[in-house]
């Protein structure tokens, strides 16, 4: 199946640092149109397009704009979430490093829409090498009058700054991200108040994922009908999928929403390496569900995956083959959340650690059926009582693995030999 290259149209083809190249390729046409429209008109267009957030939750983009638009304030902000912390996700990196101007354009249009004159890009520390590309893109866009003061003579000012992260997954959570930009530890805030009303520096803020923002320019330039011409009814447009793991052709691919998961893995990405057998797929990054090989014949759109108990999230597809043990993979996953919990609230701080210990017990042959019951109770507590999405979703991979791969967990409880986990056991003793 051919990719539908809308967001990746310029990738590898233009000089990302030079806005003139982007303009030659048809860039900033959306912004030019937006400058002649009023905020509510743009919001209506966004509503028509049906664009939903690509950062994880799939929230309608126009609604966030509307809340901030409706809130009176002297200062408002547009923030680009370039934290891309979800393990297995590479898509934002591709856009940031190969077509950054498309993100800047989305931010400027959003600013024009809601009446914000300041934008921030929060770039994760692991991507510090991309910073100079972004800086050059901002500078060259400003020179051409697409950012800065009085953009294209419209009287609208919009300035973009870059803020750096330094290694903290939780900073991808929007309120933690604000804390981090403000010079604090990246600990999530209570809500309400919601960011659209009281966000960065306490001001109304629209925060969007990189990929969401990259969609906005083309929607303005080509219209809502064009946008909806691909994808599904509830999830229109294309989506960037990062397909990784034990698959022949790893990478970032752009396909219409609703593409079949099985087709994506086997037809588009060449199937499992060396013809080995597929045992599981995790969709949506580390906080997504593990499903087994018999469940993969399903369309990838936001609602479909949610209905099946998983989440499309950021569109990450991790392919797991028979050389792996699910218990070992879940252990690795639990370790990630234990390390990345910010520690602010007890259900998550203690919960992620206990969850890790329980899985470790099972993997090392110290588990029992009671361990599984304890996990169930712990998961319920974490989901109900955690402050932010990290603690609430750290449970999804564990719960789905136990549900969909129960026999493998029982095998470990029975102390049946497992070549992979036994190896780890020996390593831990030494």
């Amino acid at each position: 199946m051919e990719q539908v290259k809308r967001l990746t149209r310029n990738c590898g083809k233009i000089n990302p640092k030079d806005a003139a190249d982007y303009v030659k390729a048809g860039g900033y046409e959306g912004l030019k149109k937006a400058l002649k429209m009023d905020g509510q008109e743009i919001i209506n267009l966004m509503k028509d397009s049906g664009l939903r957030g690509r950062g994880g939750a799939g929230f309608p983009t126009f609604r966030k704009m509307q809340f901030t638009f409706d809130t009176e304030s002297d200062i408002k902000y547009v923030v680009c979430n370039a934290d891309e912390g979800e393990p297995g996700t590479n898509k934002d990196r591709i856009l940031l490093s190969e077509d950054p101007c498309s993100i800047l354009e989305g931010m400027a249009i959003t600013g024009k829409t809601v009446g914000a004159n300041y934008g921030y890009i929060y770039l994760r520390g692991e991507y510090s090498y991309i910073r100079e590309i972004l800086e050059a893109a901002i500078e060259s866009s400003t020179k051409l009058g697409f950012l800065g003061k009085d953009i294209q003579g419209s009287g609208f000012d919009f300035e973009i700054k870059i803020a750096s992260g330094a290694g903290a997954y939780v900073c991808g959570e929007e309120t933690a991200l604000f804390e981090s930009i403000e010079g604090h530890r990246g600990e999530p805030r209570f809500r309400p108040p919601f960011p659209s009303i009281q966000g960065l520096f306490g001001k109304p803020t629209v925060l969007n994922n990189v990929e969401t923002l990259a969609n906005i320019g083309p929607i303005l330039a080509n219209g809502a009908e064009w946008f909806k011409s691909v994808g599904t009814e509830n999830s229109p447009g294309t989506k960037l999928f990062t397909v990784i793991g034990n698959v022949n052709h790893r990478g970032v691919y752009e396909y219409p929403m609703g593409i079949n998961l099985k087709e994506l893995i086997f037809d588009c990405c060449g199937g499992v390496e060396d013809g080995r057998e597929l045992i599981a797929v995790q969709a949506g990054g580390a906080s997504g569900a593990y499903i087994n090989a018999s469940q993969i014949d399903m369309p990838l759109d936001i609602d479909h995956i949610s209905d099946s108990g998983g989440r499309l999230g950021c569109g990450t597809i991790m392919v797991i083959d028979e050389t792996n043990c699910m218990v070992d993979i879940v252990l690795n996953n639990a370790y990630f959340f234990k390390e990345e919990s910010c520690g602010q609230c007890t259900p998550c701080r203690e919960g992620t650690t206990r969850l890790y210990r329980f899985i470790e017990d099972i993997s090392q042959g110290r588990g029992s059926l009671e361990t599984l019951e304890k996990i169930d109770r712990l998961i319920e507590c974490m989901e109900n009582a955690s402050l932010c999405g990290l603690g609430r979703s750290a449970t999804v991979p564990v719960a789905s693995a136990i549900r969909n791969f129960r026999p493998i967990f029982i095998k470990h409880i029975d102390k049946d030999p497992c070549p992979i986990c036994d190896d780890v056991k020996v390593a831990n003793v030494s």
Partner: protein
Amino acid sequence: MENVNYSQVTPLELVEVARIASPFRDQRDQLMNVILKVEKAVPAFSPQVTAVIAREMNLSQTEVYSFISFYKMLSTKERGQYVIHMCQSAPCHIRGAKEVLESVEDFLHIKIGETTEDKKFTLEYAPCIGTCDVSPAMLINGKVYGNLTPDSVRDVLKMYIRGEVM
């Protein structure tokens, strides 16, 4: 708090820290930028260093310390010239990250979290660094190396030891 032995910070280095931090007095949102600049100027965020940052920016030293200790890529411990971040997340894990890590540990005679005696390398754990399309992967001072094997990772380190990469 852990007991850490810091190499002596020179008075000159402390002056440099003050020079970096002082323009941002009362601008807390500049703390990350200041810290990233200071990191390049001193051997470690020792108490003396954080005290100067705090004084110049009008923060308490605890605030500066707690900020640094929160972010994984920052450290209050003294690190080597090259910081290796070995990705341990699942997409790297299932493609042999563990064997690559073991190879590095054997080669440099250090474990995760440690620094070589000659202060050349510090080995640290990292969650996904966003380059899973070339997993297993690592960062050395922010530069990506991918598709690593237990052998190829040693070749990369040798380039640093020989001084072929700065």
